[in-house]
């Protein structure tokens, strides 16, 4: 993968380009046809709709709107009936005489409340879902998310995603997602295209996504489209609302722990709209209830505005700023959070060519103040990202996405700053790390026959770890060596250091990442799909703890840390039953990841200049079977998700010597869950009342328990078993919720809603961890279970004005 043969590299590019030009020549055969394009929006607030469909009735010709509500379809000259539809909205029908290129915009009217419940993951006409090669994708409408019972009364899209097959978390009190046995840092989380490095507030009790500011989200568990790169496990693409461009509107909610308020409306003489959404936990209430001097709170702010220059040019500006603030008595304080901004320019070249350019900034940082000892510890990651994406709608059976992106990173792994002259601490600054990650991609959506369609693409990624710092040189080039006498891994001997000048590269890597999937429609109600994807990941989150903590830092690939590279194979069967009232998805997957690092025993990562001395390169593999059965219509809707899976890793000693971690044997990753069952249901009684319920069962998380003890220095020392060779008890719980809408008048401006939720109804004490130690009074060893949430009732009032 190392770029050591420049000629070979360019030859490869040429070869691929040639291949694509053949393809284009093949599909651009002549026929008199015309193109229809435009946008689809919501009639009440003007929000563009992503994934709405425009079909020519009686044909298989159709198009789906992109993230900006844009569609384009090309058909032979003729008379047609257009069918415009979107899940949760009334369909539109319209006669069309296609004898020239045309631009047509549509507005769709949302269903009356009664049918609004019918919003599960399928939001495209079922025939399209069956035919489209897209697989391993979970899309959730924010309305569905808002109906699910939640803990502490705060709607949380990450917790809702965990109800889907193949998605878990690391237990209560931990943030983030684990997708198909992958680690948290293997997910690319995007909020309006900006990278979010830490998705949780207060250690996962809340997610950073304010449901009032979010329009939609899509989770790619596999089959990641070529336009995304940089993570090996999944992509979570979350998009903020654009803001109501018809009326000024206020929405908000008042809960026991936090409250939120969002304002939106038209600006720039109706040429644009804006959205400002804020959320905060009641300062410190959270912990003061327990009479603690420690305090924790969070707040966040979402901003979005857009301006339509003319019908072919539109600008968007979006921003996010979130922060957690913690205080531990008067001695320590800590804060951390993400901030991001994105300026986008949508440009429509012509009825078939759509483009978007984005300039994005993202940052995650944390600081810890040690007030009693007068110093501060700070660390951050900054990135500047420029992207250009284009989509060309060749004809009904061929669409091409292509584009380029470049991300410049600055990693500040930590610095120690005395805050007064009296501090006994010497200032310290770890070396700043810099890198440039670029990508080029092309992806085709290709309808080969009426029954067979394909999506295939290629991403080329290039990673340049930039100079401007010195790196240690080790004896025999080994940062970690095996001490065969003591049977432990130790830091290698430093011989000296190499200084890399600014402008020089420390190391460059490149990877070709092919992505392909195929769908074959067996009959009107079922189809099979198969997919393959390869992805490279160049930056890694360093975390040797059971749960990722806010103080973990990211590190780029370079001389000692190699890029992770994954291959995933998936096969699926999709079927609709009983007039599409029910649907079923079955998918199997097998995934391998090369260069997955793990940490040597006793590794120290915080404040560590030479990360390479604490890690060993390994590999991981995961495989599983996922089943999702949904009921899409009627008063009772919901789904049952079941996942049977395995996730393991192996870390050999390699050139460092020794057998490796766990004597070189495969061991479970912390995200291994044999069984994972989720049942989500909602019942619509009438206009006033509706109910929701979740039932979750999961195999316990792999953990490490002691397998012996001995007395040493007057204490009992626990000796621990091989890594992750034990498991916590199984996790299960039931949640219920009740929604009450007191307002009967549909025309009233003020619409209120009460949400009563009960989390963990039967008060199961699910272990977040079990720790082993000696009772300080009796001296006897004991196991202590920490259970975070028992039964938690909550009441929230939501309003819209």
């Amino acid at each position: 993968m190392k770029t050591n043969n420049k000629e070979g590299f360019f030859d490869q590019i040429k070869r691929y380009l040639l291949l694509f030009s053949f393809l284009i020549a093949y599909i651009s055969y002549g026929q008199e046809s015309f193109t229809l394009n435009g946008s689809i929006t919501d009639s009440t607030n003007g929000e563009t709709l992503f994934g709405a469909s425009v079909f020519l009735e009686g044909t298989t010709i159709g198009a789906i709107t992109n993230e900006y509500g844009f569609y384009s379809l090309t058909a032979p000259k003729g008379n047609y009936t257009l069918l415009i539809s979107y899940m949760g909205y009334n369909s539109n029908k319209r006669e069309l005489i296609l004898d020239s290129n045309q631009k047509l915009d549509f507005e769709l009217v949302e269903y009356s409340t009664e049918l609004k419940e019918v919003v599960v993951t399928a939001d495209e006409p079922e025939m399209a879902v069956l035919r489209k090669p897209e697989m391993s994708v979970s899309k959730m409408n924010i309305a569905t998310v808002k109906q699910m019972p939640v803990v502490l009364g705060e709607v949380d899209i990450l917790k809702s995603l965990q109800m889907l097959p193949g998605v878990t978390n690391n237990g209560e009190g931990s943030g983030g997602l684990h997708v198909r046995g992958g680690a948290q840092d293997q997910n690319l989380v995007l909020l309006d295209e900006a990278i979010i490095y830490n998705t949780s507030h207060l250690f996962g009790f809340f997610s950073v996504f304010n449901a009032d500011a979010i329009k939609d989200m899509k989770l790619y568990k596999g089959g990641i489209p070529a336009r995304f790169g940089g993570r090996v496990s999944s992509v979570l693409d979350v998009r903020q609302k654009d803001g109501n461009n018809k009326n000024f509107a206020l929405t908000g909610g008042i809960g026991a722990i936090s409250s939120r308020l969002a304002a939106e409306g038209p600006i720039f003489n109706d040429k644009g709209s804006f959205l400002v959404a804020g959320r905060t936990s009641y300062a410190h209430l959270f912990l003061m209830l327990a009479g603690e001097k420690n305090r924790a709170s969070f707040y966040d702010l979402n901003l979005k505005t857009n301006y339509e220059i003319n019908e072919n040019n539109k600008l968007f500006l979006s921003g996010y700023f979130g922060r957690d603030v913690l205080k531990f008595g008067d001695v320590f304080d800590s804060s951390y959070g993400n901030s991001s901004g994105n300026l986008r320019w949508n440009h429509i070249f012509n009825e078939r060519l759509f483009s978007n350019m984005s300039a994005i900034y993202g940052r995650y940082d944390y600081n810890i103040g040690f007030n009693s000892e007068d110093f501060e510890w700070l660390a951050s990651i900054d990135n500047y990202n420029l992207k250009y994406d284009l989509k060309y709608y060749f004809n009904d059976s061929f669409k091409l996405d292509f584009g380029a992106s470049a991300i410049y990173y600055e990693f500040d792994p930590g610095r120690l700053e005395p805050t007064s002259n009296e501090s006994a601490i010497n200032p310290l600054k770890l070396d700043m790390k810099k890198a440039l990650e670029s990508g080029l991609y092309v992806n085709a959506e290709h309808k080969l026959t009426d029954k067979l369609s394909a999506q295939y693409g290629l991403r080329f990624s290039l990673f340049n770890r930039m100079g401007g710092q010195a790196l240690n040189d080790y004896e025999n080039n080994l940062p970690v060596v095996y001490n065969s006498r003591l049977g432990i891994y130790e830091e290698g001997n430093v011989l000296g250091e190499t200084n890399y000048e600014k402008g020089n590269s420390i190391e460059t890597f490149h990877n070709w990442e092919p992505r392909a999937s195929l769908a074959y429609q067996l009959n009107e109600n079922s189809s099979v799909k198969a997919g393959f994807s390869r992805a490279a990941q160049y930056i890694h989150l360093l975390s040797n703890t059971t749960s990722v903590t806010p103080v973990d830092v990211w590190t780029p690939s370079g001389r000692y840390v190699k890029p992770q590279l994954s291959n995933q194979y998936a096969l699926g069967y999709f079927r609709n039953f009983k007039d599409k009232k029910y649907s079923m998805e079955v998918e199997g997957y097998y995934k391998t990841v090369d260069n997955r690092i793990d940490y040597i025993d006793g590794s120290e990562l915080i404040g560590q200049e030479a990360i390479e001395t604490q890690i060993l390169n390994g590999e991981s593999r995961a495989y599983g079977l996922e089943l999702l059965v949904r009921k899409n219509e009627g008063k009772l809707t919901g789904w049952l998700a079941y996942t049977l899976s395995k996730s393991e890793q192996r870390t050999l000693g390699g050139s460092a010597g020794g057998l490796g971690i766990n004597a070189g044997e495969w061991y479970r990753t912390p995200y291994d869950r044999t069984h994972d069952i989720s049942l989500a249901a909602s019942y619509y009684l009438n206009e006033k009342w509706s109910f929701g319920g979740n039932l979750v069962f999961q195999t316990g998380r792999p953990v490490t328990y002691p397998n012996g003890q001995y007395t040493y220095e007057d204490i009992s020392v626990a000796s621990y078993a091989p890594r992750n060779s034990d498991r916590l008890p199984a996790y299960h719980r039931l949640d219920l919720s009740l929604n009450y809408k007191p307002n009967k008048k549909p025309d009233a401006a003020w619409k209120g809603e009460w949400v009563l939720g009960i989390y963990n109804v039967y008060n199961r004490k699910n272990a977040a961890s079990i720790s082993f130690g000696q009772n300080r009074e009796t001296g006897a060893n004991e196991a202590t279970r920490t259970a975070i949430f028992g039964i938690v009732p909550s009441l929230t009032y939501n309003f819209k004005f």
């Binding site: 237990g171 250690f203 912990l287 327990a290 420690n294 924790a296 913690l326 531990f328 008595g329 008067d330 001695v331 320590f332 810890i368 009693s372 000892e373 510890w377 006994a424 601490i425 010497n426 006498r485 003591l486 049977g487 040797n544 703890t545 059971t546 749960s547 903590t549 806010p550 103080v551 025993d601 006793g602 120290e604 404040g607 328990y705 397998n707 012996g708 003890q709 001995y710 040493y712 220095e713 007057d714 020392v717 626990a718 000796s719 621990y720 890594r723 004490k765 977040a768 079990i770 130690g773 000696q774 009772n775 300080r776 009074e777 001296g779 060893n781 004991e782 202590t784 920490t786 975070i788």
Partner: protein, 282 residues
């Protein structure tokens, strides 16, 4: 410096605030029994350091507490590798092995040799000098919790890098000691302030903060960097590990089985210089 890892502990404490803890029964695996070597040759500054004891025991299943683990019948020797002097430790037939002739010399390297069950176990360690420990009094506001008493100390770290230290604190009348370790990575050559406070454990009430009238015994050791690495893991794992702690591991010491390397021993052979003090809170 009470290091940054401490903050992770604090993060856990926030979670604990809203969580509930209880002691439960858990089935754990049982590993094979191993020999445990507690060979702590500690030379108290200002004494001759001639009398030293080494303890040999066996490991047991994790929840077993009442079995007799003493190992008798071993032959235990320590050799000063710089002078060649050999010290024989006499079997007291209760798991203890004692000598009254040990000669500690700063900078010298010592080797432990144990012959037991037909196998030879060895370890090496170097003796380092300990700086003076000045107890400067007590306070409430300097520690982590403003309401709780702490004892304050000062240590002058010597100029050279790589000095490593261990504190062993014991509140008089309590069964178990407390350990803290540090090295001079961030404080090399500085005068280092240290405090010791017992954080009240409100929920379980197993830990009680210092009250006026309480006495704390303080042992302050200069240790080797290798022993520090060993202790870091061991001290981190005392009392159990939570979700924001490193994944726990088997702690491996420096006692190597020369005959059968797989049958390595737990514990450590350390040679240290120590200052001992005590402080009574007013």
């Amino acid at each position: 410096m009470k290091n940054i890892k401490f903050v992770i502990l604090l993060y856990s404490s926030l979670i604990l605030t809203i969580s509930c803890e209880d002691v439960i029964d858990v089935d754990v695996q049982n590993a094979n029994t191993r020999l445990v070597v507690e060979a702590s040759l500690d030379w108290e500054k200002g004494t001759t350091g001639n009398t030293q004891t080494i303890h040999l025991r066996t490991s047991t299943p994790f929840f077993e507490s009442d079995s007799n683990t003493s190992v008798t019948g071993a032959i235990v020797n320590v050799t000063d590798m710089d002078s060649g002097t050999e010290f024989l430790f006499v079997d007291e037939n209760n798991g203890s092995y004692t000598t009254n002739e040990f000669e500690p010399i700063l900078g010298h390297t010592y080797e432990l040799e144990i012959a037991y069950n037909g196998e030879i176990i060895t370890a090496q360690e170097t003796l380092n000098a300990v700086p003076d420990l000045n107890i400067i009094g007590q306070s409430r506001e300097d520690g982590f919790n403003e309401d709780d008493l702490e004892v304050n100390m000062k240590i002058q770290d010597p100029a050279g890098e790589g000095n490593s230290y261990l504190f062993k604190f014991r509140k008089q009348g309590e069964l178990l000691p407390y350990f803290e370790e540090f090295d001079d990575e961030f404080v090399n050559g500085n005068e280092v302030d240290w405090y010791f406070e017992i954080g009240e454990d409100e929920e379980t009430e197993k830990k009680e903060a210092f009250q006026p009238g309480d006495t704390v015994e303080i042992n302050f050791y200069a240790i080797s960097p290798e022993y520090l690495s060993y202790l870091r893991i061991l001290i981190n794992q005392i009392g159990g590990v939570g979700i924001f702690d490193s994944i726990p591991v088997e702690v491996k010491g420096n006692c190597v089985n020369e005959t059968n390397p797989e049958n390595y021993a737990y514990g450590y052979f350390r040679v240290t210089q120590v200052v001992k003090a005590s402080y009574s809170f007013e």
